[in-house]
Structure formats: structure tokens, C-alpha cells
Symmetry: C2
Subunit: 396 residues, 2 copies
């Protein structure tokens, strides 16, 4: 408890953009997020006052950080589950807890639990040897998807393999694996909800998450033309309740050609697919996460506009147009500031969010959000603004 | 320039709630506001990473703080004008500059300049001796208003006097004074605009600012039933341009019984009368101030709802209802956290903003904002929520 303000203290393990935006939202609630950072140059560490640099894999660091926190939460899923259990045993109030978080850390456990709940996933199997994989692949068809059971994220730890031969190196790497059928999907969706320890829950509209080369580039809220969005929100609320999730839960989904909805992944923290809620909802996912973690009542999730689009800001893998900075072959500081000017002048209604990161080829350094009435118009606007901000002028 | 992000560095002198909310907004633009605080416990110092504790009246402190800032701005008007001139002479890029800020620091200079521009003020005169005051008072009528020419704020440095005798102690106190007629006003308004060094300007709708005992308690956007709001926005834009204001300018106004609009005060910084823009406008006054100070193009000021009400959170001058904390005669930490729960449960759509301040009788510790379609409904809701959050239960 903060003696001066009389409000509880929230600690977050991890200092990336999710912690950065959680801190930003928490300020309004009278909070100053306490943050465990890998480095003082992490996105959230740059903007918060109460920052500890330490190792989230080290129980002693976690323990010392948790002292004085009324609640502890996570900006990523990589804290070892046994450490979370140890903290809980010592009386630390963590959200989500180890029992829930396990299903975001271990894809095998997640798939098995969803099956028990009657919630559809792609067909899957744990893979221990080449024979299991061959049998499974011959049943569901090649190519199929191999996934590291733990530790993967953002397309890392995922491989599409066309044959048992192609899988050989991955199988012998020592990584715990599961295999999944490669689903014939129409698009990807996400259902994001929040749940408090008290058991109150709230859902945002189901969104469409547009992917390019396995990376989410664009989020459209609400997902257009969805036959039964309420059922999908209910699915996510069921997962949150049955798994005992506290805080924000993102359920990443496939919509298949034959109209089925399959769970792809679970994330138990604020999620890229709900960044649009900062301007697009009465309560942002970041504020909602803080409320949930503190067991405060949740805020309303009403939309502030009929359609909202957010687009990720991804650094170009090649240099932006030469004329802006002819002497350099990578993105230059001066050029970004110049492009900020032009972007704001051309699109004064676009909301820009930068994460305080240095520019590196292919890196996600921010996102932007546009609200409006007509989806095609705001999608075009959001994509044009993001393209300009990251790449500068393009030839017509 | 921040070498890592390639973005310019903004410094703000003063670390109150305006700096706190400016920092919050600046994070989205990739910034981490650098702050000169009186104390490490100031509202903004609690939530920002780059905080220097120093004295804003000390040129050496200002000079050392300004080093490495690409632009410097103010959270209050109390930095001595000659220090701002000295910084400018040394090449520091300050916004607003000394020439503009003088008119927010010196009420005599402000009144004289507005008169030159043909902009109406209450009738006024500088007061040097009891005779001037008597002559002026007999002309405009008693009671009249005495104001400290410099240094006043939030109702401080303002006295209503009914006779020359009542003014005697104030006149002999050594304070530089001006006298103003006591205007027969219907209500108070505020026109808030922003202007960039480049000369671009943007206006939010004119708002009504409800006062209680000389303190602003409530802001209604847009001001209901205003015959010619565009003319008032234009007045504020004219003041901004003619005075060379850069950043946010708030023009506090009186609306008189006979329909005249008179300028009361000027503030050249984010202002209490535009806190509603955080949720109520596409661009908040805090983001806009950062954009203006950086000479970035300004954002659109479109409203996000037909009506927006914000209510200041003022600590009670007497203890909240005894049942919540029977053992104490002041506002207790535990009680505030409890009231947060109840407020959020009862009004899940209300946006709460706390400034990280300790509770003290009569102190402004935050504000809250409600958006909606029907003014009477949201006013009632905002006031009920604020009353509950500050005072707890009331007898029916």
C-alpha cells in the first residue's frame, strides 16, 4: 500500500511495450507501476519512475521485486511457472496465477484443457519421435505445423513442415514439440476479455487480426461480417472462467473455410490485438488489466466509434526511400522525426503510439489507430499512415 | 535529440498534475518527458523516469535542466520572466516564450494588451494608492475585485472588497495590485486553443466552467446554449496569434447578463478546463501541447461524444461519513481504496484520474470524466461519482 496516496502498489514483470502502455493507463488510476526490467533501456523503463533491473528467470530477483507490491502481474509469459508457484506460496498476490498461466506457457497443457472443455482446436498431438509425427501427418495431411510446446512467441518456435524428412532437424533439437494440422483458414480472429479475481468479466468485440508472413500487421474492430460474435465472446469468457484467468486474456482464433472457430493460442496479458481499445473503447485493455489485477470492478467496454483499425508499425527490412537520407543504408533518427512531421500533417486524426525502441530492420516499434464510420476508408488511411511513417515516400 | 529513438527531447518545468498528464500523453509520441520537480513526491515525479529536483526560481537550476532538451515548456506560470529571457538568449528553445508568457504572468500587461487588440475585459485600473481605488470604485461600483498583478492563481491573490476601508490592509501589504469591476456574470466559460511555432492553430469547443467558492468544480463541453461559440473560439485564436503563444492557451471568460463576453484570465499551458479532452476529443490538450512545443502539426480536435463533463475531485474539508472509518477524523488511505471499488462498481463508464497526491482538506486530487448524449444525465452521474469518491456515503 502506498502510504501517501492510500492506493495499492502494482508490480509488472517485464518492461516491453505492454508494460509501457500499462503504466501509461495506470497513471490515471493514481498508480505508478513498479517494473522489473531486463535493461534500463526497455520501453517501459524509459517512462516509469519505479524500475528495478533484474532477471525474471531468477527467483531471488522476483522475490525481492515483489516485496512491497500488493499485486504482481506479467508483461510476458516467460517467467518460470515454478517461480510463480514459489512466490504464491510465500504470499505474493500474482495475477494471473501459476495454474492459469500454465495454459499460456505450455501449448500441450492448453490443447488438452481446451479439449476437456469441449472447445475446438486444430487437430494436434504431442510429438516424441518421427513415427508419431508420420502417423499424425498421414492422418491430417502434409504440410503440418510443428510448435515448441513452451517458449515460443510472435511466430518464433513455429515451423511449417511438408514431410517427416523436413522435420528431422527440429525433432532432434531437443525441443519439446507438438504437431498441429495446418488449418484451411479464411482469416484469424481474436477475442479479448478481462476477468477479476472476484469473478467479474468483460469482453471487447471480437476482432479480425490480419497477418503477413506470420506477423500480425493490422487489427480490425469489430471483425466485419462475423455470423455469431457473441458465441465467440462467450467462448473466451468460458476459457477465462474455467482456467481461472485473472487480468486480460486474449484468445487467438482461426476461422475456417467451413465456418468453424478454432483456438490457435492463448495470451494472459494485454495483447497486440487489443491496442485499438486505447482510443476505441471506453476502457482500454491496459486500464482493464490494472483494474482486474487490483480486483477493482471492471470498466465498460463500449466502442467509441463504429469501426476502429490499428496497424502495427514495423521497421522496413530495407532502407526507406533514399531521397530522405541519401547517405545511410538504415533508418536514421533524423528521418523518423521528419516522417513524424509529415505523417501528422497529412493525417491529423491518426493516433500514433511509439514504444521508445531503436529502429532495427523488421522490428515492431509502435502502432497507430484510426477511428471512423467506414471501414474501407479508415483501413486505407491507417495503412497509408503506417507505411509513410515507417518507409517514407514511395514512388507512385 | 534522443540518439536511440531519433526523437527530440521535451523538458517541462514543474511536476504537478499538468506535467503528470503531459507525460502520460507524451509516452504515445515516443517521448519520455524530462521534468524539473520541486520534490521527488510531486505528481509527475512519481510517474516519470527523467526527473531532476531543483528550483524553478534559480537560473542555474533552469540552465542545467535545459541542457539536452530540444524544447522546454512550463507546467505553471511562476518561472521568473527574466530567467526565461536569459535561457532564450543562451539558445534554449522555450515554448511559450518570455514575450508571450509575460501576459499570463502580469495581469496589468495582459489587460493593456487585450485593450490594444480591442478584446473586452472587465473595467480595470492599476492601483497604487487608496485615492485611485476610491475613484475607480465610485465609478464602477462597490464591491469590486482586487487582484495581485503577478503570482496569483486558483483564487489566490484575489480579494472582493466592499469599500476602500476593506482594501486598506491589502493596499499596504506591498503587493502590486489592480482593481477590476465585479462583473454581473451569468456563468464562466473557457476557450482553449493550441498554437505551434509554425503558426498552425486548433481550437476545442468553448466550455462552461462551473465555479463554487471561487474554485472550478465542473467543466461542461461544449458550453450549452452559447449563441456564437465560433466568435469566442476566434477570440482565443486571435489572442494566441497576437501574443505569439506557443503551446496550449486557455482563455477564461465571463458571460455577462447582457450577453457580453469578457476575458477574465489567460493561462499558457494545459488547463483544468480542458481535462475533458483526454477522453472527449480526438486529440487531448496534453498531446496537443507536446505537438505544439515540438512544432509538430496539431491533431484534430473532434469530439468523441455529443457532450462531455468533467468534475474536479476535491478532498472534503470535513471527514467523510464516519461509518467508513470510525476511528479517524481525516481521510484515510484504506477508505480511498474502498471508495475506488465502490465508485467503479456503481459507475463503470466513469473515467477516473488521480494525481498521486496525499489527501488534504479541500485539496484537488484528481478529476473524472463522463461522455454521453444527454447533458443532464451525465452531469448528474459525474457529480454523483465525484461526490461518492471524495466523500463516501451520504445520508439520504
Amino acid at each position: 500500500m502506498d502510504a501517501r496516496t492510500g492506493l495499492p502498489v502494482v508490480g509488472m514483470i517485464g518492461a516491453g511495450q505492454l508494460a509501457r502502455m500499462t503504466h501509461q493507463a495506470a497513471i490515471a488510476l493514481g498508480q505508478s507501476l513498479k517494473i522489473l526490467a531486463d535493461s534500463a533501456e526497455d520501453g517501459a523503463a524509459l517512462v516509469a519512475s519505479d524500475v528495478v533491473v533484474g532477471d525474471y528467470r531468477d527467483l531471488a530477483d522476483l522475490r525481492s521485486f515483489a516485496r512491497g507490491c500488493d499485486a504482481v502481474t506479467w508483461d510476458h509469459e516467460h517467467v518460470p511457472n515454478e517461480h510463480i508457484r514459489a512466490l504464491t506460496a510465500e504470499g505474493v498476490n500474482v495475477h494471473p496465477g501459476a495454474d492459469a498461466l500454465r495454459f499460456a506457457q505450455d501449448k500441450g497443457a492448453m490443447r488438452a484443457r481446451l479439449a476437456e472443455l469441449g472447445i475446438a482446436s486444430p487437430r494436434w498431438t504431442p510429438v516424441t519421435d518421427p513415427e508419431t509425427l508420420k502417423t499424425f501427418g498421414d492422418e491430417v495431411g502434409w504440410p503440418l505445423v510443428l510448435k515448441a510446446t513452451t517458449g515460443g512467441y510472435d511466430g518464433k518456435g513455429v515451423w511449417v513442415v511438408a514431410s517427416p524428412e523436413q522435420a528431422r532437424d527440429i525433432l532432434t533439437s531437443g525441443t519439446d514439440l507438438l504437431a498441429e494440422e495446418r488449418v484451411d483458414l479464411v482469416r484469424e480472429l481474436a477475442a479479448v476479455v478481462a476477468r477479476s479475481p472476484y469473478g467479474q468479466a468483460a469482453a471487447w468485440p471480437v476482432v479480425e487480426t490480419v497477418q503477413k508472413d506470420g506477423i500480425n500487421t493490422e487489427v480490425i474492430a469489430p471483425a466485419p461480417g462475423l455470423p455469431n460474435p457473441e458465441a465467440i465472446q462467450q467462448l473466451a469468457l468460458t476459457v477465462a472462467a474455467e482456467l481461472g484467468v485473472t487480468g486480460v486474456l486474449a484468445v487467438e482464433l482461426f476461422e475456417t473455410a467451413d465456418g468453424r472457430i478454432l483456438v490457435n493460442e492463448l495470451a494472459m496479458r494485454p495483447h497486440n490485438s487489443a491496442h485499438w481499445t486505447i482510443e476505441g473503447s471506453n476502457t482500454s485493455q491496459f486500464e482493464q488489466h490494472v483494474r482486474a489485477v487490483l480486483d477493482y470492478p471492471l470498466g465498460t467496454t463500449t466502442l467509441t466509434a463504429p469501426v476502429v483499425v490499428s496497424v502495427n508499425l514495423l521497421c522496413p527490412t530495407v532502407a526507406p526511400q533514399a531521397s530522405l537520407h541519401p547517405d545511410h543504408d538504415d533508418v536514421q533518427p533524423k528521418a523518423l522525426d521528419e516522417r513524424m512531421h509529415h505523417t501528422m500533417a497529412r493525417w491529423p486524426e491518426v493516433k500514433i503510439h511509439l514504444y521508445g525502441k531503436a529502429m532495427r530492420p523488421g522490428r515492431k516499434v509502435g502502432h497507430l489507430t484510426v477511428l471512423g464510420d467506414d471501414l474501407a476508408t479508415i483501413r486505407a488511411r491507417a495503412n497509408a499512415a503506417a507505411d509513410y511513417l515507417m518507409n517514407g515516400e514511395r514512388d507512385a
